[in-house]
């Protein structure tokens, strides 16, 4: 088990290496010249050329790649073309807000999602099932910006319970954005839990358990729950990976100083070093989450063993 874990950890390195190359190429293939954007809409060519030299964009793509990789091996992500601040510092500023938002949204969407999914499965075909799934489908289909603005209008402008936007570290500021972001995730989890439960409930061992005369509650929570949870955990892991990338829509609506908004701002000004670092970070997060999910399987179902 430990050996497997270590092997997986080491295998992250070649994955990230390949990703770093792809990311570099992808980012530089975007049309648009960062020097022109940094220099401003009314700059003349001489100024733009000067900026190109300042930013090191006058060198060949291959030279730029070598500089980038050389820095990367030294743990240096470079400087933002726009703000000229170290990329690591810019990301460190925006990581906590995104992390808090992701964790808060995830926490309550797991709670509600799994509960409602299982609940609907228990009451398959009855009104409880239909109600839960109608809520879930609405949760998936509601556009986040619409839900966000609606919540702002009601809870922040009308009732004045919560601040409209921003994040300075208070839990109150987390409420509306995490609700908005979590609504979609909770709905996805609920749907997933339901179908996973229904699959498991058709298994032979469930019939056996029922035939033994066990209470339905015991069958559900003791026999079905653990097994039904496995695909749900994969799903949750994936969703958490997405959330950690920062939600563009929710962060924009709530003026959240996180990674999602930073990504969009950086794309629009073609801030190469920032884009490269963010994409690398996203990949790293996904690889780590996948590893954790695999480990979790073994915890949930001790029959799963890794060699």
């Amino acid at each position: 088990m430990l050996k497997y874990f270590l092997r997986r950890c080491i295998s992250i390195i070649p994955v990230l290496l390949v990703v770093s190359i792809l990311v570099f190429l992808f980012v530089h293939l975007l049309p648009g010249d960062p020097a022109r954007i940094v220099a401003g809409p009314d700059a003349d060519e001489a100024t733009i050329q000067q900026v190109r030299i300042e930013l090191g964009l006058d060198k060949s793509l291959f030279e730029q790649y070598l500089t980038y990789m050389g820095r990367l091996f030294r743990g240096d992500l470079g400087k933002s073309l726009r703000s000229k601040l170290p990329v690591a510092q810019e990301i460190a500023l925006r990581y906590p807000p995104t992390l808090y938002l992701a964790a808060a949204s995830m926490a309550w969407s797991i709670l509600f999602g799994v509960f409602f999914g299982a609940y609907a499965a228990m009451h398959r075909g009855k009104w409880q099932d239909y109600t839960a799934m109608v809520v879930a489908v609405s949760g998936i289909s509601m556009p986040q910006f619409w839900l966000g603005l609606l919540l702002i209008q009601f809870f922040a402008v009308h009732l004045g319970w919560f601040p409209v936007t921003g994040f300075t570290g208070k839990w109150k500021e987390l409420a509306l954005p995490s609700l908005t972001l979590g609504a979609t995730v909770a709905a996805i989890i609920a749907r997933f839990t339901l179908s996973s439960f229904l699959d498991v409930l058709q298994e032979e061992y469930i019939n056996t358990a029922r035939a033994k005369g066990l209470l339905e509650r015991v069958v559900m929570w003791k026999h079905a729950f653990r097994n039904a949870l496995i695909p749900v955990v994969t799903m949750v892991g994936l969703q958490f990976g997405f959330l950690l990338g920062g939600s563009v829509v929710v962060e924009t609506v709530f003026a959240w100083p996180g990674l999602g908004r930073y990504m969009i701002e950086s794309v629009s000004v073609r801030d190469y070093p920032v884009l490269q670092a963010l994409l690398l970070l996203y990949s790293f997060q996904f690889v780590v989450i996948n590893l954790l999910v695999d480990m979790l399987y073994a915890v949930i179902n001790p029959e799963i063993r890794y060699k």
């Binding site: 000067q50 703000s83 402008v157």
Partner: protein, 501 residues
């Protein structure tokens, strides 16, 4: 008795805080004025730093750190007498040496705004409070270059201490002292208690980026922002009846137009370009695509700029447009490519123009892309080959120096062909080049006025563009806030800010 006194003392303290929150759609990129290319960062810098000259809220040039100035007839020598007794926020004195340090920094050519000082051959220190700029060649808009936010004065001590890191440690002479910048979250400035022009009435201003229109309006309505810009035109109805909110409208110096590729057939034909102008229903585009927040263009540059002369608006007349198309030999129309940035308002405006041009037979596909790709594409056109593809592109311009020169030379002169500057339609006319030069090489307002007025008379009927409109800037603020104004260039001034009850 003591109790009562204590209560009275507490009660006499200000009842409400004098801290202002300014929410905007933009994000601060840098606070180094010499390296700033965006209006928003420049406007915040103006609250911290000042230049020898500045603009009042109507974009007239006013002396700031310079007390007075004079220039010679050929516009090659400009002398400035500096104000005495002014110190930077860090205590460094403002004098001729400080000016030289700043101008020399710009003249290294390393900064985005270095181009402002490109005409300077030499800067002489006459005495502690007099400096003289000697220019390489006559440059009539030099005063505007010194009023530009790119020529703000930073403390020489701060420049020495921080080097290029002044971008996060700006120190100037302005009404506000830089306090804190949390990248992506806010910029905070605090009042300068020793401001040389008088008492600053608010304690601090916090600039917060709020990209989403609806959220910005919600912040204002919930009392969590005092001033928002831009106020989205489509949400005006929401705040117009709110007794606590006031809407401010300000004509801008931002003109929008359709760039016509004048090197390509049939757009090279003046009559065709005139026909396009007759076929454009400016009012309809303003109402539908721009939320009504604009006025039809009535010259080649907006009326808030100096030396403006009214020409239009160009009448909307389909019959005349069709007649001109026929005269030019294109009665059945022709095909072009429409290019536009994909920002929703600009895309809508281009689509509407496309629809209207269909009436005179001009059709074609639309290519929309993000702003960076759009300008990348336009600036890669070469004059030798651009004639092969007739295109119509949605363009816009704001003269950042607030002068007529910068509203015409980068857009219409032969020197401004891409990639050098922004004459994306490759409009070329020797008479235009001559008039632009005449305006550039004199500092005498009379001579300049004559050149630019003649230029407007001459260019307007030649229709290098499909003239559209001039933006109206809309901001909204709490009625308790006074003294913050939007400027015609999209910046703002906060020096006189005040909160009243």
């Amino acid at each position: 008795m003591f109790m009562l006194l204590a209560i009275l003392l507490i009660a006499s303290a200000p009842l409400f805080s004098q801290n202002i929150i300014y929410a905007s759609d933009s994000t601060t990129n840098t606070l180094d004025p010499h390296n700033t290319s965006d209006t928003y960062s420049g406007a915040i810098e103006r609250a911290i730093c000042q230049g020898l000259l500045g603009f009042d809220k109507n974009l007239n040039i006013i002396p700031l750190l310079a007390e007075s100035y004079s220039y010679n007839e050929t516009a090659t020598e400009y002398t400035f007498k500096l104000r005495k007794g002014i110190t930077f926020h860090d205590g460094a004195p403002f004098n001729a040496k400080a000016v030289k340090v700043n101008i020399d920094r710009l003249r290294t050519g390393k900064y985005v705004r270095s181009s402002l000082m490109a005409p300077v051959k030499e800067l002489q220190i006459i005495d502690d409070y007099t400096v003289k700029f000697i220019l390489k060649e006559p440059f009539g808009a030099f005063l505007n270059a010194l009023a530009h936010p790119g020529a703000l004065m930073l403390s020489p001590a701060a420049l020495e201490k921080h080097g290029d890191d002044v971008r996060i440690h700006p120190v100037g002479t302005g009404p506000f002292i830089f306090s804190e910048w949390v990248s992506g979250s806010y910029v905070l400035i605090k009042k300068n208690p020793n401001y040389w022009r008088g008492k600053v009435k608010v304690d601090s201003i916090k600039f917060v980026p709020v990209p989403e229109n609806g959220s910005r309006v919600a912040m204002l309505r919930a009392g969590q922002a005092h001033y928002i810009y831009p106020m989205p035109a489509e949400l005006l109805k929401l705040v117009e009846n709110d007794p606590k909110i006031e809407v401010i409208k300000q004509p801008s110096i931002i003109e929008r137009y359709l760039i016509l590729n004048t090197k390509s057939k049939p757009l090279s034909d003046e009559r065709v370009r005139q026909a396009i102008n007759y076929a454009l229903d400016k009012q309809a585009i303003i109402q539908i695509a721009w939320g009504g927040a604009a006025t039809p263009a009535d010259s080649i540059f907006p009326s808030s700029l100096p030396f403006y002369k009214k020409q239009g608006p160009w009448p909307y007349d389909i019959a005349k447009a069709k007649a001109l198309m026929k005269e030019a030999g294109y009665a059945n129309g022709f095909k072009v490519v429409f290019l536009t940035p994909n920002a929703s308002a600009r895309l809508r405006a281009t689509e509407m123009a496309m629809q209207q041009l269909k009436a005179i037979g001009i059709t074609g596909e639309i290519q929309s892309m993000d702003v960076a790709s759009f300008y990348d594409k336009l600036s890669k056109n070469k004059k030798e080959t651009v004639g092969e593809t007739p295109f119509i592109a949605f363009g816009g311009w704001s003269s950042s120096t607030g002068d007529a020169d910068w509203a015409t030379r980068p857009l219409l002169s032969t020197d401004a062909f891409p990639p050098n500057m922004s004459n994306y339609g490759f409009f070329q006319d020797p008479n235009v080049d001559r008039l632009i030069k005449a305006g550039l090489t004199s500092a005498d307002p009379k001579v300049r006025a004559k050149a630019y007025m003649e230029l407007q008379d001459y260019v307007w009927p030649k229709a290098p563009w499909g003239y559209l409109f001039v933006d109206t800037l809309i901001a909204a603020k709490s009625k308790t806030l006074k003294g913050i104004y939007p400027m015609p260039d999209g910046a703002f001034t906060v020096e006189e800010a005040e909160l009243v009850q």
